[in-house]
Symmetry: C2
Subunit: 276 residues, 2 copies
């Protein structure tokens, strides 16, 4: 049995993404963790074999905790990716009317994804951030009927809530991309992606010189994301995804060259590309 962990409790989009990744295979046993930190450390400590963690949302951007931990706190690889559409709903305790809602509870990401809806429909509600959409749903279920959660239809089922309004996300193009992390990455399939993180030397044009390497070898960069280096304001580390597998000849060459030209470099894995 492969032990796989997800950011729980049950009813989160992470669970939905995990089921899509497992795709009916019956050699997986599932474990839920209440924080992304605990989930990632559980793989590092060998408590579980794999974890599915959110890394990027099409409206809100990077999931910082995932990026920062992969860069600095653990030595794990990405072995797969997965993306699912995110549909947000306003969930209330059975019988609660919209006019009664004083508090709106959710994880910061869904709150960001429904910002315009909330500004228009609940300009006076107090927004409370919770660790997960499921946690918010549970709190609403146990509450006084003056609150609503933003979450999935699964969460409404799990916590026996009414759906006061469906599809309240501001933008239809709402997808979250997840990565499956493990001690090892994946073998070459021919349609792969590779993730690295690095910091450049502290002089003008140093990021340009790295991208120049991709250009020289005709390597296609699909994502670049900067995060603070944390040692000085204005210094950054860069997360880059490229097309190709580390076992491809030109990718091996490119990564060797990048390693030479950077002050910090970490290979985060090669894995099959997921297409929506």
């Amino acid at each position: 049995m492969i032990k796989i962990g997800f950011f729980g409790p049950k009813g989160t989009f992470s669970q939905e993404a995990m089921e899509k990744y497992i795709d009916g295979r019956n050699n997986y046993s599932e474990y839920d963790y209440s924080t992304i930190t605990d989930l990632i450390f559980a793989v590092q400590n060998g408590e579980i074999d794999e974890a599915i963690v959110p890394i990027e949302n099409s409206l809100e951007g990077a999931i910082n905790i995932t990026m920062d931990m992969m860069a600095a706190d653990v030595d794990l690889k990405i072995k797969a990716e997965m993306a699912i559409p995110i549909k947000e709903n306003l969930l209330v305790k059975r019988g609660t009317k919209k006019a009664q809602i004083k508090y709106i509870l959710s994880h910061p990401s869904p709150i960001g994804q429904c910002r315009k809806y909330l500004n228009v429909n609940f300009p006076n509600a107090i927004i409370k951030c919770e660790y997960s959409t499921s946690g918010a749903a549970e709190e609403v279920a146990n509450g006084l009927g003056d609150s609503a959660a933003i979450g999935s239809i699964i969460a409404a089922d799990v916590y026996n809530l009414d759906i006061a309004e469906k599809d309240i996300h501001d933008n239809e193009n709402n997808f979250t991309r997840f990565v499956i992390i493990s001690k090892n990455d994946s073998p070459r399939t021919g349609v792969d992606k590779t993730s690295i993180v690095f910091s450049t030397e502290d002089k003008p044009g140093s990021l340009y010189r790295i991208l120049d390497i991709f250009n020289l070898w005709d390597v296609n960069m699909t994502r670049i994301e900067s995060r603070p280096a944390k040692n000085q304001l204005g210094k950054y580390i860069f997360f880059v995804d490229i097309k190709g597998h580390i076992e491809d000849d030109e990718i091996t060459d490119v990564l060797t060259m990048i390693q030479k030209k950077t002050s910090f470099y970490k290979f985060l894995g090669s894995y099959p590309e997921f297409k929506l």
Copy 2:
């Protein structure tokens, strides 16, 4: 009188940054806003002349709401920047002991900045996110003595709280950079920065070709930050800061060229560079 707005209530780091920016000048009147959204729209609507908004923290990274609104929702310019060191403290209602703390309240940024401290010292506490550190401090002041806020020493004064522990931030290099936004940017001083936001054409190497322009004209890029384009997973817009003023000849040329080579381009202002 110049009307300047800040992300309030009183006692936030935003207020501290504003006082440093105003620097004793007596032609400013101050207005506090309870959300960054309201604050930025207040400048757009002419309710106030200027606003000071956080844009980047040295540990947590970009302040997404500020970046997204500057790119898409308003037509405003950056006229100045300011950075201040952030010192976080554990604030409790007078007489509360650490062992009594069940809930920890703050804005998501300070929570992120004290992640390790919280994991070690309060592994079982429930973290509650609030809209501001001051809001958290106020809630703790009105609470049952089972909660703590993470916030500034000013907030402890304003809300009459005990400082249960000083300097609980994980990293000494904790600075927040603010920008002062207005309908107009600033005249050339000789030591300036310029901010732009753009999206590249949807083909491989298009970001590289933009950075190539900076390289050709020897322009120093001090920051690049990607944010989702919000219309498709895997598409991004890029925020870039460069050294120089739009009235400098080479900057004029560079920006003209970039405008030609991008599918979306917006000039966000030239302003004096602030040095820590």
